[in-house]
Symmetry: none
Subunit: 124 residues, 4 copies
DNA sequence: GTGGTCTAGACCACT
DNA sequence: GTGGTCTAGACCACT
């Protein structure tokens, strides 16, 4: 869940993924506001500039829209876009894992069992 | 295969994964030599310093051993270590993907179908 | 017409330009009243504070005069001042465009043809 | 020419326009390097972060490509893209000027004469 | 040397 | 209060 500054993925991308997932999960109302830059920065214990960079990218992706002096708001087609982006990210991760496994000549059955084991572990 | 300088994973770690996978797949003979730093750097289109850093790390992991003036050689227990490490890397990737999916509240069935679809696509 | 909150020019300056142009075009009678702050704010979908700032600036420029409790009125020499200011603004914009074109080494003929094309398009 | 920190246009956009114009004018060789972030920052008396933001946007526009550890390089189709973007910027400025003039009910002849006067003044 | 990310903190326009 | 821009300065991976 949280943000991990020691990962290779830059913090601002982790924030993008985090917000994108939350939008896909409909944790934010369409047309509703995102947490303010400062508020989210405090919550994530991260610099406001870093949050802002994430928010700007989310705007570029069409997920949010900023209204000057008011805040940043979820767009109408955000849920759809976010869901698609999230699925794509999942696919990318799975592909990367499968490629690593194939490189090591792991049998498909091994990969499947790893997958289902992790899936079970992380199940809600 | 394939080193991608635009990924977030540092190149030297990508090289480690690459060699580690090859050892696990027994593409290198136990006690046999790895490609020279210079040769691998040319092959991967990468700076020799970067390859060297990867080799140093592989030595630290116990997968290879440097014999001065002779080259770098695969250790006796390298295959086992490499296999374990590769499985661990695969697990990490799958976990990351599943976490992203759960964050977006994707149904498990969706994740399973993405996984099997990718697995089929990448099948040998 | 048209205030665009996404332009770089601050909204209050866009309002100044807008009123200044209207005075130059004699859409407001000399000695006649400007729309009230509140009314203009509603019309332009803008915060009243922002309109007020524009009106203060217009007063500083000598185009309008506040009469307490009565409203804001066009001064005697406003038309002249406004016309000069508008011409100056036009010149500034043209200069900026020409500078950009010169920076890109666009031939003068290209700039002229762009200019006349736009002029024709925007013709009344 | 230069960068003006007091303009309304953000510095990083001024840098974008500046580099874009220079590419259009073929002041940089295709496939050749741009000045390094630090070098340009020194030259323009601006913070490196600001230059970097401009360079990132230029990359997003497809005008340049960064090679890690090496620098930032002009892409093959950069001249074409830059020329088109520069013309578009010129058109935008002229449009803005003409709109201001029309708002003030300036005769077309006045606008033309202002335009040609400025063009003559700024002529090489 | 190169670019990429991040923090800390300032000032501005707008609500 | 809100977001947008900028500076100063740090650390990292890569050449």
């Amino acid at each position: 869940m949280g943000i991990d500054p020691n990962k290779h993925v830059p913090i601002y991308e982790q924030i993008i993924d985090h917000i994108c997932g939350s939008i896909a999960a409909e944790l934010f109302a369409v047309d509703g506001p995102l947490p303010s830059i400062r508020a989210l920065a405090l919550e994530l214990v991260v610099n406001p500039n870093t949050v802002q960079r994430a928010y700007q990218e989310l705007e570029r992706l069409g997920l949010v829209r900023t209204r000057k002096g008011l805040g940043i708001f979820v767009t109408d087609d955000a849920v759809d876009l976010a869901r698609r982006r999230s699925e794509e990210s999942v696919r990318t991760m799975f592909s990367a894992g499968i490629d690593l496994g194939r490189q090591a000549d792991l049998p498909q059955e091994t990969m499947k069992s790893i997958f289902h084991q992790v899936l079970a572990t992380r199940a809600g």
